[in-house]
């Protein structure tokens, strides 16, 4: 019994944030007379917010380790600008340009990681400097814009998977297949980890809870894919990119030694060091990784705009940080999940889209988003205090 209540206790925060997302979606669904969940809007929700989700993945790791990264917006502009120059002035094939951009992102991360991990300058200062440095370099390189990118590159963010398999009614079959594969894969991995736990004679969540979890998740995936299959293009390509990153990085954080060291360093740096964790290498790795993910975001952003823009990515760092905090990442480090940050990013995205559909002024949108961030973290704190008293 205690095990069950503990299981719920540990996950209640995660369920709470999902509940908040559902409430916000329903609210705007009503306020916009059902326009929020138009299939085309769902597709563009993903396309518009891919950059936040990609950056928030890296940012969760940075914040869990007890740091912050203020430079990612500027790095997006810098790497995006370089990528555009490679595509136009140098006429490189788009795949090569993408690979080189990722490498440049890694170099930027090494630069910042060096100062933070090995010189010991606080990340706030290093990345504040990075914010200025890379914005400046972006303007130097790009001027204002480098346009005329090849359409194959622009398709990364704007395109969808071709519908090789035709349609059932209005539904794109490729999208439906992806959804089906997703449901099966989810069920199989869940079942296998449950079986593995039982094999080691470990306590598992109650069967009823397990089945409910499977059914709810499957229905959710099914509804979303069905809806998506009705949209003009079917499955946006960025959805595959973001999905792969979410799955991959969730694995990295939960199951790899590197991921576990991030939590250890963030939870108690002294104890981690005295347990033999090389905290400098962890810090360095986190920032290199953040650089690479910023480059991914840069590619997505540049592709979506169809041009390298020197002023791209302004405030992206704040969007990513907000997504993490709404998603339950602790300011003090040591606590945070990618799933939480993704839901945080979706909450911000739905707010954006809903308010835009309702034609709310952009200035008001910003103020409302700020309020939501504040309330989310306040709820979290009050909840924690209550559970401490209990």
């Amino acid at each position: 019994m205690t095990a069950v209540s503990e299981y719920l206790g540990r996950n209640v925060r995660q369920y709470g944030i999902v509940g908040a997302l559902i409430v916000i979606v329903l609210l705007f669904q009503v306020l916009t007379d059902g326009r929020l969940l138009y299939p085309n809007n769902i597709a563009s929700l993903i396309q518009q917010n891919a950059y936040v989700m990609i950056l928030a993945i890296g940012m969760v790791m940075v914040i869990v380790a007890g740091h912050i990264d203020l430079s990612v917006g500027s790095v997006v502009a810098f790497v995006g600008g370089l990528c555009a120059i490679m595509l136009t002035d140098w006429e490189l094939p788009w795949i090569l340009a993408v690979v080189l951009s990722l490498g440049i992102g890694a170099l930027v991360g090494m630069w910042q990681g060096f100062w933070i991990a090995y010189v010991g300058i606080p990340a706030f200062i290093v990345t504040l400097a990075g914010m200025l440095i890379f914005r400046g370099l972006a303007i130097v390189l790009v001027g204002t814009t480098v346009a005329g990118l090849p359409s194959s590159f622009n398709a990364i963010s704007n395109g969808s998977l071709p519908n090789w398999l035709g349609f059932i009614g209005d539904a794109d079959v490729v999208t439906l297949c992806i959804g089906a594969v997703g449901i099966v894969a989810f069920a199989v991995t869940q079942w296998r980890s449950r079986a593995a736990a039982r094999r080691h004679e470990l306590a598992v969540e109650p069967m009823s809870a397990f089945v409910i979890k499977l059914v709810v998740a499957s229905v959710l995936i099914a509804v979303v894919t069905y809806w998506l299959s009705l949209s003009a293009g079917g499955t946006p390509i960025v959805l595959l990119i973001v999905g792969a990153l979410i799955i991959g990085y969730t694995f990295v954080l939960n199951r790899t030694v590197f991921g576990r060291h991030i939590y250890a360093v963030g939870g108690n740096r002294h104890a981690a060091v005295l347990s033999g964790v090389n905290s400098r290498r962890v810090d360095f790795g986190i920032f290199v990784n953040m650089g690479v993910l910023a480059a991914v975001a840069a590619i997505v952003t540049t592709s979506r705009a169809g041009a390298g823009v020197a002023s791209a990515g302004v405030n992206y760092e704040l969007d990513a940080i907000a997504a993490c905090f709404i998603g339950g990442t602790a300011v003090t480090g040591g606590v945070g999940r990618i799933s939480g940050a993704m839901i945080g990013a979706l909450i911000m995205g739905v707010l954006n889209m809903g308010l835009s559909i309702m034609a709310v002024d952009a200035a008001w949108q910003q103020a409302i988003k700020g309020l939501v961030l504040l309330l989310a973290v306040a709820f979290d704190l009050v909840g924690k205090r209550r559970s401490r008293l209990a």
Binding site: T2, A3, E6, Y7, R10, A196, A197, R199, H200, L202, A203, N254, R255, T256, V257, F258, R260, H261, Y263, A264, G267, N268, H270, A271, A272, V273, L274, S275, G276, V277, N278, G334, V335
Partner: protein
């Protein structure tokens, strides 16, 4: 010396949740004398002084305090200072980036209508500094002075408050010989000027040199007050006899050691203080441990035991470390923690909350923290195996928690300590250094931890136990080293160990140490 009574503390009792720190303590100090207070770590000396100075306000303790015959009910430091009682704590409390003058008058600024009068501040500060023998400019930053001079600035600060009763908690613990001598000279001057001093110290030779009488406290109780100028001369051994003789409040499992080959040898180990590199914290220490042997490390606060252990464990403490470490006869290097662990050394810290555990994570994650490599393949952790390991230790060490997914911060001290032990035992070391393994733990859990220590020795591990409780060392260890001021001052086999002879070594002056 006879004189009127300046301070009288009558049957002071102070309780913390679960612990009686002081029980019926009485203390009488005559006006104008230097009164020393002696006792082991944790005897209650500092608690008594905090009661006196109002750090623990009236009402949180039982008993009476009389100053010059009049009862006092201090609700805070401000009130005790108004009556001329000033305490200088062991940890210096100067603000490093303020000037000496600003530090001296901090909270007590020379000002008119909220505006600081800098001329008066500087002039008065200069005067006070000269009274304690400092000729530095009052505008100097506190951080630019050495520890010895900072201590003097603290005293100048006390003088600025018209002190009548000055309390010094371990004033010379961090000072070199020259600075100590100067400080003791200053105390002599204060006595001549009619200021009463209470000095808490471990250094018996200093007490003999400067004090008029000494009160001995043990286990939160006053044992006796000795007059150092009385008809009978009081020897250091006489004081030691009063300090030790703690009651044996815990029982120990019986254990027959099977001692094998030497596993670890430390030779000529010297460590300097990380912030103040001239200070020698560990001084040419030599020790060795054999397989299956439990070796104790006894010493009073500041003796350098933890510093010795942490510097060997991957240079986690100190600078300018020199000396050599041999493992199974061959010299090894332990430049960082990972290297020390790879050589089979484990160190369980005395401060488990700050340095030992990740309190916001689960038992499972803490147990595996130092040996994730063993639980992973290609950098991927085998989580199920990890749970199995954690469950094994939860069962073997009887960690009381609903599951291994319980957050460590919510466990009791004894169970947290068992998690720390699990972590290090799972890393499968050959040498385990356990620093105060039973601090803050109830008697039942202590007994269980002694059992774990014995089992580790029986499994052929070499175990080093650092402890401030002499009965514990005598009850658990096969051999005990004593340390004082960074030196190993003695080595006693279990059969010969008594609290008296250990305390004798633990307070042994550097002149007496025979190398």
């Amino acid at each position: 010396m006879t004189g009127e009574s300046h301070l009288e503390m009558r049957s002071i009792t102070k309780e913390f949740p679960g612990v009686k720190a002081l029980q019926d303590v009485t203390l009488q100090v005559r006006r104008g004398e230097v009164h020393a207070i002696c006792g082991e770590n944790g005897a209650g000396k500092s608690t008594l002084m905090k009661v006196l100075s109002g750090v623990y306000p009236h009402g949180t303790y039982d008993g009476e305090i009389l100053l010059g015959g009049a009862p006092c009910e201090f609700r805070g430091i401000k009130e005790s200072e108004a009556r001329g009682v000033v305490i200088i704590h062991q940890e210096l409390a100067l603000v490093p980036y303020l000037s000496l003058a600003e530090n001296i008058f901090l909270g007590n600024e020379k000002s008119r209508a909220g505006v600081v009068d800098w001329n008066r501040t500087s002039r008065d500060a200069k005067e006070l500094l000269e009274r304690v023998g400092l000729h530095d400019d009052p505008a100097t930053q506190a951080a630019d002075l050495g520890v010895g001079k900072q201590q003097l600035v603290e005293i100048a600060k006390a003088l600025s408050k018209d002190v009548e009763l000055l309390i010094l908690d371990e004033p010379t613990a961090a000072l070199n010989d020259e600075d100590s001598a100067h400080l003791l000279g200053l105390i002599d001057q204060f006595r001549a000027a009619g200021i009463t001093c209470i000095i808490i110290s471990h250094k018996l030779n200093e007490i003999a040199a400067v004090a008029d009488s000494v009160t001995i406290i043990r286990d939160g109780q006053t044992i006796e007050t000795l007059d150092l100028h009385g008809d009978e001369p009081v020897s250091e051994d006489r004081i030691i006899r009063g300090m030790v003789g703690r009651e044996l409040d815990s029982r120990f499992p019986t254990h027959e050691p099977t001692i094998g080959e030497e596993v670890l040898r430390i030779e000529d180990w010297t460590v300097h203080h990380p912030v103040n590199p001239e200070r020698v914290v560990v001084d040419h220490a030599n020790l060795h441990v054999r397989a299956g042997e439990i070796v104790g490390l006894a010493g009073l606060m500041g003796a350098g035991r933890t510093e010795l252990a942490m510097s060997v464990f991957g240079q986690s403490y100190g600078t300018g470390i020199s000396g050599s470490v041999y493992k199974n006869g061959s010299k090894i290097r332990t430049r960082n923690v990972a290297e020390a662990i790879s050589h089979g050394i484990a160190y369980a810290t005395e401060d488990r909350k700050r340095y030992g555990l990740n309190l916001i994570q689960t038992i499972r994650e803490n147990v595996s923290a130092s040996a994730l490599g063993k639980l992973s393949r290609w950098g991927v952790v085998e989580t199920e195996q990890e749970v199995v390991v954690a469950e094994k230790y939860r069962h073997d060490f009887r960690i009381k928690a609903p599951s291994v997914e319980s957050v460590v911060g919510k466990l009791s001290g004894g169970n947290q300590q068992k998690v720390v032990l699990s972590k290090w035992v799972y890393s499968d070391p050959d040498v385990l250094i356990l620093d105060e393994p039973t601090r803050g733990i109830d008697v039942g859990a202590k007994f269980e931890i002694y059992g774990i220590i014995n089992a580790l020795a029986d499994a052929g591990k070499a175990v080093i136990v650092i402890s401030s409780e002499l009965p514990e060392l005598i009850g658990v260890c096969d051999r005990i080293y004593a340390m004082n001021e960074g030196r190993i001052t003695g080595e006693v086999a279990r059969a010969d160990a008594t609290q008296e002879n250990l305390m004798h070594y633990m307070t042994m002056d550097k002149g007496e140490v025979v190398r």
